[in-house]
Amino acid sequence: MSVKTLKINGVDIAIEEGATVLQAARQAGVPIPTLCHLDGVHDVGACRLCLVEVSGTRKLLPACVTEVAEGMEVQTNTPKLQEYRRMTVELLFSEGNHVCSVCVANGNCELQDVAIQVGMDHSRFTYRFPDRAVDISHPQFGIDHNRCILCTRCVRVCDEIEGAHVWDVAQRGAACYIVSGLNQPWGEVDACTSCGKCVDACPTGAIFRKGSTTGEKERDRAKLDFLVTAREKHEWTR
């Protein structure tokens, strides 16, 4: 396999052909914030947090789906990118009802972490306060749409790893929401195997284990990694 060399923030990096800019950055220890990316499932390039500047193009490119190329020069943290990332996170906070203080994921939430990472001390955008539902019909889990950022990690993990395709996205635009089955209560969807992968995949407190209260959500992210490695490389031990 051939190797490509590129520069990220001025640092030389060599990585195998076909790798993404995000993988290259991680290998080099350059932090790029992400929300919709999840190792092991396909990338959708939807959250736009991982946008980077690549010399030679005026367009900002999502690191998660942009393949490395020979001689590529990438900037991951220019003032413009910092500003746009912060705005993106502010937009996410203003779109849902994210009340960290009463959330199961407080202290263990990727949205909260990203807010800190991008330096968001407040949202300049008006909170929308949408009227969203909570579904606790499943015996073990619940989904609180107020906390959902529509990253679709649950949709992909359920389809691509578990193979159950319980979830999908319904409606469009601001009305989009994660739907289970034929818009049925989650607990009534036959396809659900109660495997809990969506709980582990959810970056926020939107999908949670019932019975956990503020700040108690824990997720075993390593389990998903393990499963993917096991299937792809046939390594069935941790």
Partner: protein, 175 residues
């Protein structure tokens, strides 16, 4: 054609996908799905046919399609709700679609829609409580040359003043 011969057999054996209700409209769906070789890619084509035959997409129909095309339920629901033309609720006996495209907007279609909303006591996108009239908005029906345009039960009417549209709708109300 095969579907027709099947029904004329002495002891008709229902095809696997047949709907237990025996509703003929499901047969139409079967034929559409068969024409597309039950490929999951045909979902939108089949939804169009279902909407045409049933008037709207009820749960039963969506489940039937999901089974026929071997698709997850959530995917069928997600796709059906993505597109404006698919309706999961029944429409009124009459439909009145106000075009809100740019040319119509510049020529005052918002006044037409406001007048209709007031007359019918419903908002765009809603159906009157008696199920008689659905009031809808279109992004652009491409009849910009005769703006503002309104579509009454599928027939395009151009250069509409609020009074003209009201007169038409009032006729329906009297029916």
């Amino acid at each position: 054609m095969q579907a027709v011969t099947k029904t004329t057999q002495a002891t008709p054996k229902p095809a696997k996908s047949d709907h237990p209700s025996g509703d003929r409209r499901f047969k139409t769906l079967d034929m559409t799905m068969k024409r597309h070789q039950y490929k999951p890619d045909a979902l939108i084509e089949v939804l169009h046919k279902a909407q045409e035959s049933f008037g709207f997409l009820e749960e039963d129909v969506l489940t039937y399609i999901a089974r026929g095309l071997k698709l997850p339920l959530s995917k069928v629901y997600g796709t059906a709700t993505f597109y404006h033309l698919f309706s999961l609720k029944p429409n009124g006996a009459h439909t009145c679609v106000v075009c809100l495209g740019t040319a119509c907007y510049v020529k005052g279609s918002n006044k037409v829609s406001a007048a209709l909303e007031e007359e019918l006591g419903i908002k765009l996108g809603e159906t009157t409580a008696d199920g008689k009239i659905s009031l809808m908005a279109a992004r652009c029906i491409g009849a910009c040359g005769i703006a503002p345009a309104v579509v009454f039960d599928g027939t395009v009417a151009g250069k509409q003043e609020p009074e003209m549209a009201l007169a038409k709708v009032k006729d329906w109300e009297l029916e």
